[in-house]
């Protein structure tokens, strides 16, 4: 299945590169009711066409198309472009995110996130570890003097987010959840905190199925705001805020 995901991601990368010239110019509404630019549709079409060519009988849950029953036992959960807003404005942080499993995050078997700007690829298969471009990755041991937190901020962020931003030595944010979570998996960040007031800004399983597996296989964890292990069903509706962390000591700083 790794070869399949790598092949689909490479095809998406190609489609996005080809399309780049009129990025984000046309806006439409995706299956989730969020505004999406044509780049999402182009990327999704590329992935689905490529999947068809492989002959693999996988169902599809995708950001734009929703659920497509292709008579498979397994489902590929797909966010063709995570960070569409970044892509539309030319902010260099957007990715394609793909996972394969059955019913929910917890039974996800494979996850791949490809950074569409740098081409770096994060991959994990359940029980076999996480990798960045074939190099094993691990979360970072907590060091209170050198904390880097990725925090979702702005008009939709909850007050706790600002409090957390005071506590981190350094704050970063890419604005693409799959990438922000993969950076926790590599130890580039200690924690990713997403706490939005706006329900439609919360994350969906298509955004995080892949990166959650990658982070867990790298030694980290993803929990809801009440600190329960996060498990979202493979559907189009469920949304959640979350905290993704490497070393649990980082979690103790969260308000």
């Amino acid at each position: 299945m790794k070869d399949l995901l790598v092949r689909l991601a490479a095809r998406v990368q190609q489609a996005v590169s080809d399309y780049r010239d009129d990025f984000g110019e046309r806006i439409s509404i995706g299956a989730y009711g969020v505004p999406t630019s044509a780049i999402d549709l182009v990327a999704e079409r590329a992935a689905l066409d490529e999947l068809e060519k492989t002959g693999e009988r996988l169902n599809v849950l995708s950001e734009e198309a929703g659920f497509i029953d292709r008579g498979g036992e397994m489902t590929i959960v797909l966010d063709p472009v995570d960070g569409t807003r970044n892509a539309a404005r030319g902010f260099p942080a957007y990715s394609t995110s793909m996972a394969i499993g059955r019913k929910s995050m917890d039974d996800t078997e494979f996850g791949l996130v490809r950074d569409l700007v740098s081409g770096r690829t994060y991959f994990a298969s359940k029980g076999r570890g996480a990798f960045l471009d074939d190099r094993r990755i691990r979360i970072r041991e907590f060091d209170a003097r050198d904390t880097v937190f990725s925090i979702y901020l702005g008009t939709n962020a909850n007050q706790e987010s600002l409090e957390l931003a005071r506590r981190a030595r350094r704050v970063r944010n890419l604005g693409a959840a799959s990438l922000d979570m993969c950076l926790v998996a590599t130890g580039a960040a200690d924690l990713y905190y997403m706490n939005s007031n706006a329900k439609n800004a919360e994350l969906r399983v298509v955004d995080i199925a892949a990166s959650a597996l990658i982070l867990r296989e790298a030694g980290g964890e993803v929990v809801s705001l009440d600190r329960r292990r996060l498990n979202m069903p493979y559907d189009s509706k469920t949304r959640s805020n979350l905290i993704a962390y490497g070393d649990p000591k980082a979690l103790e700083l969260v308000p």
Copy 2:
């Protein structure tokens, strides 16, 4: 001079790529008294060696080496690796920043910032516009519904930074000033706000001489916190907080 800067930046990129395997392992103290990893020294050595080969008689002001009088009329102002902390942790945002001028930011003639992760190159020459990989760039017209602010946050950030983070629709931060400023130049961000309590976290001319020219040539401006046009001398000591913006309407949101 553009060819010279492109050549030096390519050489730095090569040196950093070659060195990547033991990134940030050895720590020493640079001319500015900040901890710097060996990657800075390797990158600076690569740039200075390459400059020597070109035969150009330029003085040098560099992060590690300080000022080197090479009998020239012009000085190259160099931050071999901006975002060393990111590089050391594997956070994919660091760059090389190079400018050529005489005495201060205001007489800077050429500026180049190369993103060392993606290889993208920002360039400006005074009076002739700003470019990303040879494509003209311009700041973005302000749209209150779609604001993206890059804000320096964390334990050293001033309280105003948190207030500003509540006002932006979205907040991003790469933690490499030259890149954060170039993203204002392309319109990816509306504003970059750097307001640190810690004097040794404030920015130096080596960090921003190039990106300030790039932003100004793209139609933006860089000011101190009291809203005066920022002009720093080419020296090793001066530090400043700053606000970099595209459309002046973005500045009205700053506390």
